[in-house]
Symmetry: C2
Subunit: 166 residues, 2 copies
């Protein structure tokens, strides 16, 4: 099915019934080593670990690296969707993402330092037969509609529940 | 090396030289199929894809699922660090994360609907020999210092650069 057909099909499915547009994504996981964490995502497994400097064995990327991978991939896939929606030919998309972290935050060494990224930089290279202006138009549409761009750039309500047995 | 030693070593290394606490994390990737994206993270590769309903082949989790995996794993690992820092014995940590998404956002079907998660829920189950009160104290310390909790709950500056050849 083409991306155009997917977008039109989604629009038709949710027209007049906004509840049909709501999707819940779920993951579960547990520590299986000092910092090794196995995550179940539907039929997939995602392993996470830290390098030895943070107490792990570097068996996989760490959590903030996965967050950047989520961001880079979400950008690229949203380029596909919006290229189809706007009728812009797109041959390739490359994305690099980097984030600045100050480790004083995570360890509580300075409570004025935030725990998360202080800045994230994204370099996107779309290519194909269209004019640079068309790709810039595409980039603006993507940034306004990319779920992980929104997650990074804006605050999201987080509800946390801790289950402890007495 | 114990987590206590890692935290003490980090504190000693950055004491009086805050520049030493700054770390840059980097990933690069590209589309290798309709929605298949291969991400290079140091020596690791992270594959991302969408299910057929979104034009992919479901070869791997999708970007928002990776974002939730980053969140769940970051929580668990931060439990390890802060259990060591606070002297709280911790045997196991399980984490489930779920996020609500309204697909009208990504496809621009309703510009009042945000593209990203409208809410994320986290269920954490720490276990071990300590009292429930101690694990609740640990949970509060974790949420205040977990990098991906901060990323989700707060806005992060994002700088985006698009390279298009004329």
């Amino acid at each position: 099915m083409s991306f155009e057909a997917i977008i039109e099909g989604t629009a038709a499915a949710v027209e007049g019934q906004p509840e049909a547009a709501k999707v819940v994504f779920t993951v579960q996981g547990r520590l299986v080593g000092p910092t090794e964490f196995d995550t179940t995502v539907r039929q997939h497994t995602v392993k996470v670990d830290e390098p030895p400097t943070l107490g792990g064995e570097d068996l996989a990327p760490n959590p903030v690296e996965y967050a950047l991978a989520a961001f880079a991939s979400c950008q690229a896939i949203t380029y596909r969707f919006w290229a189809a929606k706007l009728g812009i030919a797109l041959d390739r998309v490359e994305v690099a993402a980097e984030g600045d972290l100050d480790v004083r935050g995570i360890f509580g060494l300075d409570e004025d330092v935030r725990a998360g990224f202080t800045e994230v930089r994204l370099a996107v290279t779309p290519s194909g037969p269209e004019s640079p202006e068309r790709y810039r138009e595409l980039a603006d549409a993507v940034d306004a509609h990319c779920p992980v761009f929104d997650l990074f750039a804006n605050a999201t309500p987080v509800v946390r529940r801790v289950a402890v047995s007495a």
